[in-house]
Amino acid sequence: MPLERPGDALRVVITAPLLLEVQDLVTRYPVPRGIVGALARRPKEVAHAVEGVSFTVGAGEMLALVGESGCGKTTTAQTVMRLVDPVSGTVRFRGEDITHLRHRELRPLRRRMQLIYQDPYDSLDPRFRVRQTVEEPLLVHHLGSSHERSERVTRALERAGLAPADLFLDRFPHELSGGQRQRVAIATALVLEPELLVADEPVSMLDVSVRAEILTLLDSLRRSGLGILMITHDLSTAARFADRIAVMYLGRIVEEGPAQAVVQDPRHPYTRALITVVPKRDPRDRTTPEILKGEAPNPVHVPTGCRFHPRCPEVASGRARERGMEERCRGEDPMLRELAAGHEAACHLA
């Protein structure tokens, strides 16, 4: 059943430029050859981390980028944040092309888009009190008087669910639980009052019992109008908390659509397989997982045709051949096509 969100009605009204628009983004990394490789003049190789990715994130919307490690979801996020430079494609923020902005020009923008890291045990300085950690971004950006800064720190902490803030201001990270640390990390992002949050696996290092509270916090921030790009490998989390899901495979989005539509009615064979292997919470829902053989291929040597065809159950089972499509699967790279309202998949058979 589709979830009803209070933000739904609101979103239709917004006609301002979208918060984030990413178009045909391509990011590649050189693969080190090593000295022997260089002397032997082995060809320079590149890892095709992101190969033509397009998506948008609106204000008050959460998009989940889902995929296995190595699919390019983190590189996508890093490119959007301009931490890594793309080879081609554009990133627009509030309608402004930021793809080629120089470092100095990027600074005011960085305040408006903030990153939340995976591990709150790593991302907080153990020698900094909560107050200092949360204040740091304001100092970096030369914002506010000392009094204003302290007010903003309090406000950010309380917005991140650490209320009353006085209770936490003078603590060190080791005096906080995992969930509280992640809230401090979120407060540190919120203190600059950003419009977009990029959360890279925000709960994967946390205990089960506190994951929900962090996800609920992100959900309430989304409701308050923030755009959130969440990177996750956990489809269950994405299904429950995101408005839309984009499934990535080997540098491409292979399926994208409203979260419930993607989970209930997956159109790409990769998404279908992923859904069958997600362990269901209910023991009565034991389904036979459709386990793909092997692992995702190396992004240095992307298969020709459909990048998924060597592992595709439709090709392996002969169903693609029965439909006379096998040649196309092997030879032609499928593009995303809209199959239902706002629901796209890149598969010749869909």
């Binding site: 639980s177 089960v208 019992s209 994951r211 956990d234 908390f241 997600v278 919470r281």
Partner: protein
């Protein structure tokens, strides 16, 4: 099970860690369970609940700063009757373990095959050529081509290393396999491959499995029975379906509702508060401060495990009519 009694019995297992200043941390506070042949049991709990410590104790692999008490019976024989001397012949031979984080289970500078052969030679299961052939067979069993046996650990991906770690645990033909978070660092697809492998081994080799995890859905999908640990104690155990559908301990119920489900049914709610420190004595029920149903006796009286259905027990005053009527 099949009338022959349990394969592994754990009775009153306690583990203490020595802390600085003469203090002690009571990590495992008297746990009991049985495991039948071919049975798959999930041991579930949050980090710090003592689940890993408990299985390390069963393996006799606790660090020197720890001391243990209780009984671990294998086919009715106490493995710890004479301490380390009586457990050594059983370790790896009868009971083996797959460690958390397959990355660290191997010596990086030795070939995979040599590392699988080592326990066989140590326990005189096989030697030389025969041992290498057996190592190859074991790798094939876990889905790795025997031709890759002489590779080094870094040449394997995370999923393959975890499979190789399982092959190594199987080297001496154990009857019980203890797997500590065997899929935590792996992607969902690889996780599914490893879980399918473990389930297949219990079916084909009649191996018994204890799967230690913090992930309820993994237990829901792979185990016959589950035991939920909290603050060093098993607070509820029973057949997976009963436990997940009619939990009789509030912690089990809350843990369940804190876990998002793919099909998004029901609200996802986290459990407020944190587990108690185990370096001081916990009065009453350890979960009482976080419990949404705590009543009069909970903060002061330690609950006992009471049977609530066939094979299903819970350590909660709510199941005790005497407690309920008294308050």
């Amino acid at each position: 099970m099949n009338g022959s009694g349990p394969l592994l019995e754990v009775q009153g297992l306690h583990v203490w860690f020595d802390l600085a200043g003469g203090r002690e941390l009571h990590a495992v506070q008297g746990i009991d369970f049985d495991l039948g042949p071919g049975e798959r049991m999930g041991l579930v709990g949050e980090s710090g609940c003592g689940k890993t410590t408990a299985i390390l104790a069963i393996m006799g692999l606790l660090p020197p700063s720890a001391s243990a008490a209780g009984h671990v019976l294998l086919n009715g024989m106490d493995m710890y009757e004479a301490g380390e001397d009586s457990v050594r012949p059983h370790r790896w031979r009868d009971i083996a373990m797959v460690f958390q984080g397959a990355m660290n289970a191997f010596n990086p500078v030795r070939r995979i095959v040599d590392q699988i052969v080592e326990p066989m030679e140590l326990h005189e299961i096989a030697e030389g050529r025969a041992a290498r052939v057996r190592a190859g067979d074991l790798l094939e069993l876990v889905g790795i081509s025997a031709r890759q046996a002489s590779r080094y650990p870094h040449e394997f991906s995370g999923g393959m290393r975890q499979r190789a770690a399982i092959a190594m645990a199987l080297a001496c033909g154990p009857k019980v396999l203890l797997a500590d978070e065997p899929t935590t660092a792996l992607d969902v697809m690889i996780q599914a491959q490893v879980l399918e492998l473990l389930t297949g081994l219990t079916r084909e080799l009649g191996l018994s499995l204890i799967l230690v995890t913090h992930d309820l859905p993994i237990v829901a999908q792979t185990c016959d029975r589950a035991a939920v640990m909290y603050a060093g104690k098993i607070v509820e155990s029973g057949p997976t379906e009963d436990l997940f559908h009619t939990p009789r301990h509030p912690y089990t119920r809350l843990l369940f509702s804190a876990t998002p489900d793919l099909y998004g049914r029901g609200e996802v709610i986290s459990i407020p508060g944190t587990p108690p420190r185990l370096d001081r004595e916990v009065l009453g029920c350890a979960f009482a401060p976080r419990c949404d149903m705590a009543f009069e006796p909970c903060p002061s009286v330690v609950p006992r495990t009471l049977p609530v259905a066939p094979g299903h027990g819970a350590r909660c005053h709510l199941n005790d009519p005497a407690m309920r009527s008294a308050s």
